[in-house]
Symmetry: C2
Subunit: 420 residues, 2 copies
């Protein structure tokens, strides 16, 4: 018998308790042991909850309780959660956590503290999709070429609406808030931070890189307009908020930003609140993992899978490496990433404009891949849409700055990265 203590009994915590009870037959057959949700730690005992286990407000009743084998951390936040997980590990308890922010900041310290104890976190990335297991175990023979993921359901729901219905960012945000998909302060989701936390976890397993959110490029979806969406379609692309980690000759790029994704890429078809992660390995080629990225039951599915693995006595190295890589890969600075780019300009309608722009781009080693020119409603201006071949981020930034100085271009230049 395995006794589980749950710290934080919100939506996911309640699902964990209910599924452990409802699916007890199959879970104990698979684990080889009965698994009992024994006690929950909450802030407020009076809050109504639809579950039947003893509750306490004292976390020590779990982490210092000799009868508890596994501590499930679902409280969220970073500082307090770090303390709980650390003390649970020090008390020789296995830990399961769904806390992506905690891991985005403290995964390497916690790995150190855990030592040989299991510290599992399948639920921290992409909810019910077993992507941690896939990357850490299923694809472990591969040098990972790239990870490209839709890691945030809220923003994917919003972008899907914008693509399908042509509505504005503001309108779709209001609707997502009404439906409970977006928070009152939506920054964490729409700003790309949630996706970044998850991406950093995946990038550690793939590349062994200890980066923090502050070290990487993070851009949100706030500035995307229906025009961008429409023009993307004309070029054969969909706009998605992607988390991208990839290896190139110089190092590893880790970045989160709105991206124009080629319509033939299966990840461009992932709609609504669903998540998907595409992983390319040097042996396996392209794989993709798709499923619900949030929700109480889906997340609980991942939490309980970890509990079952611990009950079976399995313990993969937390971040995928039993011993550290001899030659560590280095994280590239955001300005050193390479991408193809989409540029949207509003320029004066006069001869030679395109030639002048092409010339400026070429000064920064940027060559144009495709061009679309549209009449604009503003008199004497045309809208010019460009896509470039692959170039360095710092060069496109310099080129945009130089273009903005030209009076016939003006300040209104939008840029988006492209993933084929």
């Amino acid at each position: 018998m395995i006794k589980v203590g749950i710290v934080g009994v919100g939506t996911v915590g309640q699902s964990v308790v209910k599924i452990l009870q409802k699916n007890q037959d199959i879970i104990s057959a698979r684990a080889g042991k009965k698994i009992i949700p024994a006690i929950g730690v909450v802030k407020n005992l009076d809050k109504k909850r639809d579950i039947d286990i003893p509750l306490t407000t004292d976390v020590n009743e779990v982490i210092e309780n000799d009868e508890i084998d596994i501590v499930v951390e679902l409280m969220g936040g970073v500082k307090e959660a770090y303390d709980v997980v650390k003390r649970a590990l020090q008390n020789k308890k296995a830990v399961v956590t769904a806390n992506k922010a905690l891991l985005a900041y403290h995964r390497y310290e916690l790995q150190e503290i855990a030592g040989d104890l299991p510290l599992f976190y399948e639920a921290s990335v992409a909810g019910g999709i077993p992507i941690i297991g896939a990357l850490r175990n299923g694809l472990s023979a591969n040098h990972i070429e790239s990870i490209v993921g839709i890691l945030n359901g809220t923003t994917n729901y919003m972008l899907t609406k914008m693509i399908k219905e042509g509505v504005s960012y503001e309108e779709v945000l209001r609707e997502a808030q009404e439906l409970g998909y977006a928070e009152a302060d939506p920054t964490f989701d729409v700003g790309g931070f949630d996706a970044a936390h998850k991406l950093l976890i995946l990038a550690s397993i793939a590349y062994g890189i200890d980066a923090k959110p502050e070290d990487i490029l993070i851009e949100g979806i706030e500035k995307i307009t229906p025009t961008d969406v429409e023009f993307a379609k004309e070029f054969g692309y969909e706009i998605k908020l992607l988390g991208i980690a990839k290896r190139n000759n110089d190092g590893v790029e880790i970045r989160v930003h709105p991206t124009m994704v080629k319509s033939s890429n299966p990840i461009s078809k992932v709609e609504g609140v669903m998540n998907a992660v595409s992983v390319v390995g040097d042996a396996v080629g392209q794989t993709m993992f798709y499923g619900p990225g949030a929700g109480g039951d889906a997340t609980a599915s991942a939490v309980i899978a970890d509990i079952i693995e611990i009950a079976r006595g399995n313990s993969s190295p937390m971040l995928g490496y039993k011993k550290s890589l001899e030659r560590g890969l280095k994280l590239l600075k955001p300005s050193n990433i390479e991408s193809r780019y989409y540029l949207k300009l509003k320029v004066l309608d006069k001869p030679g404009v395109l030639a002048s722009i092409a010339k400026i781009l070429s000064e920064f080693n940027i060559s144009i891949s495709s061009v679309l020119q549209k009449e604009s409603k503003i008199e004497n201006r045309v809208r010019l849409l460009l896509t470039t071949h692959k170039c360095k981020e710092f060069e496109i930034i310099k080129a945009i700055a130089k273009l903005k100085e030209l009076e016939w271009v003006g300040d209104n230049i939008a840029m988006m990265r492209i993933e084929d």
Copy 2:
């Protein structure tokens, strides 16, 4: 250090050796141990191979060799392979196999023989996609509602061609044979048997069911015409060869057949030689796993992932259950499955025909969902296309038999199952 002996050094075996050598740095960091491909067993020593390990024709040099820790069985076939795997296990060696036919027939016996020894087989289903791990570990908290998979790359390549280019089955088969995607005798692939072997393995992990290929419904793609493909599109479906395992109130259905799949279902978009498996769990909801289902390197990726898991000391129960389920689920007879159906008839063009057909169907508790009537080139005949609501397989079979007796219908009725 872990020493691996490889029995059968064909395309996959050679990839296993090469990737173990090429990715040695990352593999040993992940496994915590150096993994050495130490010896290979072949039938013909003179055949040219592009690898650098000692070879022998004597399988005992691997399975009776005290220095070998893991035996990788890649010889194929059932009888001889069973003998090799059994003897390796009896000699206390861990075993990794990619042999789906072996497992389709002998998985429960081998599980028994293996006992606590690892007997891993990630590569046996869907090549490089880590679907065994996902089902056995990542989704272990769930009662599995359904597994729906494109499990055979050859037939998916052929159907994709038929869908995109409107070519005939015969033409696309000839082309697939020229490209090496289909064998000279293509029965194993086009008849659905390869997919059935894989499906039976997945169904065991999901439901603990010990079925053999002979026990389940298996239909191939040989009878699909360009007309079927075209009409499917008009109804909003694509035709795919699916392996389906699902639980209903009476038991478990396991079946392989060409299927009309709704275009909104992500599995309908899987093209060419790619594989995909959709798994619905009661907690997680719908997940999907996508990737290359065959090829030397992709399959080797899965074989080596198993080797790394064994090196890490992990050992999940072979078929997912540490102890058997108390209430076993029972396999439904093929005639007892339930589905929606598509019917294609050629009927005399006279009043009341549709009403008469609807009446006959209703005698067998079958109600019509949609109808499409098309002019036919054959004089005085119209082509009638129906889809039905869900009904029992034995009732649709009886209804078709009765319809065939009517002189104004005639013998020419085609049926296909539908998956929404």
